[in-house]
Amino acid sequence: MFTNYIFYFLSALALYSGVMVLLSKKPIHSVLYLTLTFFAIGGHYILLNAQFLAIVHIIVYAGAIMVLFLFTVMLLNLNKEERSPKPIWVKALAIIAGVMLGLVLIGVFRGYDLHLVQHPMETQIGLVKELGRILYRDYMLPFEVSSILFLTAMVGAVLLGKKEQI
């Protein structure tokens, strides 16, 4: 019963801060609201007994990516409200892209059998032992390949960041 209230609170928080990301005037506020959204989603993971996922979610998104975002936005000095109104064709393109993304999401969720998790505290999939077993036994190759993808991205970032010619 108590977890129900926590669920509603977290959902409301996630939705509210998600909307506020778009509505905030200052970029810093948007970034902070986005961080709050990540925390709310992390709370949902804990409700699903997926402590490992929750903590990794917070470490990676709130702890690393959002700090870098905040860092960049601070340096950009976007305080002066110098955002000029966008031309009409940009707005039209944005609306078309948004609608298409929405259609794709609806398509995905229609094909997926959405069922209620009956006893969330009995699922073990989000615990580190189960997750590790699945990742390293059943999905070994995709996991390792994705790590190479990350390595490529890192090397690329270093290359782009280097000033002098190599």
Binding site: I28, F52, I55, G63, V67, F71, L127, V128, K129
Partner: protein
């Protein structure tokens, strides 16, 4: 059970606050000792009431808020710093189980199976308070301090995490209790991971913004760094949370590398469970105090790093060394199997 947890949480919170309060006095006494002077000795015997006097002074100082500050974030900054500083101790095992009326109680608030990752998470979000406060002050020096703090913390987090990974590899568990129980007697991790210990210690200095890595508040260049615009108890929170962080990181180092509450031959004494738990807790506390002293010792001995030196040390020395340490540990574990 719930009541015991609440009592334990309150006790730990109180302990952190009192220790942080008296760390300020000890810090000044230690500084006095290193510089061949007495340190504060006016308020009470040996200056024992000095922290109280400081606290009262901070409370009664004028609340100052810059006109151009972002009001909400300006207040959120120090509050968040203080809150996050108090969060870490939730997963630290403070001693072996105690028995009251035939019921066993664990001296650890939450034995989650990802305890060590929880500490990572708290460390990694610890920078928000400083960044928010520094930005919201709307002051160039404060902003520079905040930017320095964030880049420094991100850089040193990497080496710190890599040095803890070796501990996780040796223990085979992410739970703090398992890590402590593995180091029974004198079987401490520091004997197996001297390099990891060194890297972790250096990173702990950088993460707590302590000298020689206190670039975010480097007063020779940045006036007061991220808390330039703060006064009264908001400034107090920033300064105070530094001491809480010091206490907590001493605790984490003692737990991860120095066997937590374990001590050689203590199980030979044949004490009853509760006395045993108490003695174990005192042992842990002694280890934490020792690290507190090291933090102060280094602060009053070494000069401050330059910013590029700090970054070079982090990225070009500590991270490669930490990766090497992970590789060596992995090979040794494989050979021993």
């Amino acid at each position: 059970m719930l009541i015991f947890k609440i009592l334990l949480a309150s006790a730990v919170l109180l302990l952190s606050l009192v220790v942080a309060m008296y760390s300020t006095l000890i810090e000044r006494k230690v500084a006095g000792f290193f510089q061949d002077r007495l340190g504060p000795d006016r308020a009470g015997p040996w200056g024992l009431f000095q922290p109280l006097a400081d606290g009262i002074k901070l409370f009664f100082k004028e609340e100052f808020m810059p006109n151009t500050a972002d009001k909400f974030l300006y207040i959120l900054g120090p509050s968040l710093t203080m809150l996050i500083a108090c969060l870490t101790s939730a997963v630290i095992p403070w001693g072996p189980d105690i028995v009251i009326n035939g019921q066993t109680f664990s001296l650890q608030m939450a034995d989650v199976n990802i305890g060590i990752l929880y500490i990572f998470a708290i460390v990694s979000i610890g920078v928000y308070g400083i960044m928010i406060g520094g930005w919201a002050s709307n002051n160039k020096y404060a902003l520079l301090g905040a930017v320095r703090a964030s880049s420094q913390m991100i850089s040193y987090e990497l080496a710190m995490s890599l040095s803890i990974i070796t501990i996780v590899m040796m223990t085979g568990s992410l739970s703090m209790r398992d890590i402590v129980n593995q180091q029974q007697g004198f079987n401490w991790n520091i004997w197996y991971q001297p390099l990891g210990f060194l890297i972790f210690l250096i990173c702990a200095f950088a993460e707590t913004n302590r000298s020689p890595f206190d670039l975010p508040e480097c007063e020779t260049e940045l006036v007061g760094g991220y808390h330039t615009e703060y006064s009264s108890m908001k400034l107090g929170f920033y300064l105070f949370s530094e001491y809480i962080n010091m206490f907590i990181s001493g605790e984490v180092i003692a737990t991860l590398f120095l066997g937590g509450y374990h001590f050689p031959f203590i199980d030979k004494l044949g004490l009853s469970p509760n006395v045993f738990a108490f003695v174990s807790f005192l042992v842990l506390f002694a280890k934490i105090t020792f690290f507190g002293f090291i933090f102060m010792w280094i602060r009053w001995t070494l000069p401050r790093f330059r910013y590029d030196q700090l970054m070079r040390l982090g990225w070009k020395a500590l991270i490669p060394l930490a990766i090497l340490n992970v590789l060596i540990t992995g090979v040794v574990i494989l050979l021993n199997q």
